[in-house]
Assembly symmetry: C2
Homo-oligomer: 468 residues x 2
């Protein structure tokens, strides 16, 4: 049994590790395009900030750790073609030569590439000019080199999603004055604006110049740095002179290899896979940021996340050996720390739920993370979205202070969504309480109870009246 | 509709609040034995420690808050007899007079009283001597008075359960040298000894003199303080001269009122109730520490907890009005903070599971709370117990540092238990990840995966081999 996996990030490595743990006799090779197998892409902002002291520490596992599992790594090796009928993967080796690797099963985890917004001048600028994308370790080194070379006093970040926010923190930590420009109306557009506003307040408090509702239209070099121009939603022109520009506006699936081999694509242009992670190509599985995401509420969508890539890769690795595993589906759980604020979400927001055919209604509350009488209590703003007809929980969004256990409180909602619980039924969950860390009805439950009070109390009263 | 609730703590108040929110026309009276309705008993250690600056802050709601819900409070009023046939509750008023309160429905939440261990001399000593129990606000004031009067330099705490540990921290915070004596082999006997040992290390680190496997046999006064004598499990005699003794070895249900009215008792001597919280007495419901606990894994047991009392009281209040609510059952979720260590558990430990007819096997791991490359990662020791035959999760115990989100990580296990998940299926949960706060497989999942690796890997491999 010869398994070849493409991709040194979450999906490819997870597939290889799962295959080796289930069949220690399997011949498993991972083809890695660069020299950085199993690196934590999510950790890059913390290396740029200086909090991670050496880039090698970003590796989930070292090269030696990986080889100790019995997996063979081919680094700096590019998968160029899949010979589907011949069950061979053509690769270009570091020395420029090519090989055709025979396989019994292929798992493709080519991941994603940075999205590049339509900004005049961007295509012709690069790290040498102080203009950066940020996705790979190569991008990372280009950026850290630039930080040392240019010693920027000012930087402009295009985008205020997860990576953009983390980089705003990271560059601020390096003493750089950051301007953050976001096309949409609020930072962190993956949560509702009333929650994103709390994150914005933290950014502003920490000195970040936040410009939302503004689109960057051009970037150019000046004698002494970079000129960035744009316009606001109101039609005003805006512009900044900065030393460094970072463009982080999301990713798109890297499907070229699979598409050339005949793979079908679906939502977001990602490769279509079954819940088994099988593609439409025989003996070819795929996982991670290059494939569509099975979502327990939405069906098939595209939602690239490291957690999902790990799960999908694991399923692909098992099935490539002949297993019958199924990816159980995402509920879109995400969390980000921005300075001392933590924002998390799981499930659907109203507009997403409505598009998916639900009847969403929401309630927002601010509840203490623990009993107010114990020192240090801080409010967590929680927005619950539930279905007006079925009462089912559809989603939850939370923003609170670091230390308020927001990142793991969202997990209770995620687990409730996994089991399709009603909002009302969360009151039945036996959650932990001690005054320094919670409340008899946990913040999680105070929020769902507020939703019930707003949207179901009349029905509760009517039901009770009917029984008497 | 006239509802009378007995008890100003979690169960009675929750019943009253639920009744009023479901039927704003209901006539709801709560009979409270003391002057402290809706006080947080769990917060007492933090008032004694000085962290809660005024005892009034311990109230979940003020007297005015409660009255604003339309609930009538009768404080300092003792329920002395239930006239079941006449549907009247006899009470003794603050002035010594008696009243008979007619009711359509009665909810009894008399709670629990401190267990008193068989220690020679204990029965004849009290707060005047510096010997204290700790359960009510009255006990609390007696203790804080003694702390000011005696100004103890040394204290001995009998018991190392939740309250005992919190009080060890609280008295230490006041500069008192604490000796903690526990009959069993390790502190925090509600978790396995290998986890309790981590809590002990923290106590010792903070200067607490911990004596486990030691039983206090007598307490007496000396000219200058108190003499405590005991013996160890090895048969050695031990003794201490201290200024103050605190006896906190758990509680027993306060069932006197209900038993005299004809209520049946069950496990732990607690009053038997249905999942509707109905007693065997007509029109009488009961909830909280005075009743048995329906447990999703054990059936009927006795496990008095504030979280459970809130849920049971809420169910009782709804059903007393004619509703059809059911207490969904506890899974025994508990958490305690001891200095900077947090210990939590949910579900069953091996010996409990075995007694209940399961086939428990366990795995213990120490996993980082977040990615090690990000500063501040600390290990969480997690012990997973699962059923060897069905693969079902049976329980989880966690001990980690404050800040490691232990208190809310246990909630994911609690929610998984609520839904009777298998240990293996926890890998499918879509839990939140960002490097400063988690891992792509959360600590929760690293622990369940370790259990699977230890107890199911051979079966996984065999199943895969069978499909090929």
């Amino acid at each position: 049994m010869k398994l070849v996996a493409i991709g040194g990030s979450d999906a490819g490595i997870s597939a290889a590790l799962r295959a080796r743990e289930l069949d220690p006799g399997a011949d498993v090779t991972v083809v890695v395009a660069d020299a950085y197998p199993n690196f934590s892409i999510c950790g890059i902002p913390y290396y740029v900030s200086g909090e991670v002291t050496h880039w090698r520490n970003l590796a989930h596992r070292t090269h030696a750790d990986l080889e100790a599992t019995g997996t063979t790594l081919r680094l700096d090796t590019l998968a160029t073609d899949i010979d589907v009928d011949g069950k061979r993967l053509v690769v270009r080796n570091p020395d420029g030569s090519t090989d055709a690797l025979a396989y019994d099963a292929l798992v493709v985890g080519t991941g994603a590439v940075p999205a590049v917004p339509p900004i005049d001048g961007l295509a012709s600028l690069g790290p040498a000019d102080g203009v950066h994308l940020l996705h790979s370790m190569g991008d990372t080194f280009a950026l850290t080199d630039a930080l040392e070379r240019i010693e920027p006093r000012t930087a402009l970040i295009v985008g205020a999603g997860y990576v953009g926010l983390e980089m705003a923190e990271g560059l601020t930590a390096r003493g750089i004055a950051v301007t953050q420009v976001e096309r949409l109306g609020e930072v962190l557009p993956t949560v509702d604006e009333e929650l994103g506003a709390i994150v914005r307040d933290e950014l502003v408090e920490r000195g970040v110049d936040v410009r939302t509702g503004a689109t960057v239209t051009s970037i150019g070099t000046t004698g002494s740095g970079l000129r960035v121009d744009g316009r606001t939603d109101d039609g005003e022109t805006v512009g900044w002179d900065v030393d460094l520009v970072l463009v982080v506006v999301g990713v798109r699936p890297d499907t070229d290899l699979l598409v050339r081999a005949g793979a079908e694509t679906g939502p977001g242009g990602a490769v279509v896979v079954e819940e088994s992670m099988a593609t439409n190509l025989p003996y070819v599985w795929a996982a991670g940021d290059c494939v569509v995401t099975h979502h327990r509420q939405l069906g098939t969508t595209y939602l690239p996340l490291g957690t999902t890539a790990h799960k999908q890769g694991r399923v692909a690795g098992e099935n490539a050996l002949g297993g019958a595993a199924r990816f159980a589906g995402s509920v879109g759980t995400q969390v980000v720390k921005v300075f001392d604020v933590v924002a998390a979400r799981t499930g659907l927001r109203e507009h997403e739920a409505r598009t998916a055919g639900f009847a969403p209604v929401s309630t927002t509350v601010a509840v203490d993370d623990h009993k107010a009488y114990y020192p240090g209590a801080t409010p967590i703003t929680i927005r619950i979205t539930g279905d007006a007809e079925t009462g089912r929980l559809l989603g939850a969004q939370l923003v609170g202070r670091r230390g308020a256990e927001v990142a793991k409180r969202v997990d209770t909602y995620a687990t409730a969504l996994f089991h399709a619980m009603t909002v009302a039924d969360l009151t039945a969950l036996d959650l932990a309480y001690t005054p320094p860390l919670g409340s008899p009805w946990d913040a999680v439950q105070m929020a769902t109870q507020a939703w019930v009070a707003e949207h179901q109390r009349d029905a509760e009263r009517a039901a009770l009246a009917a029984t008497r």
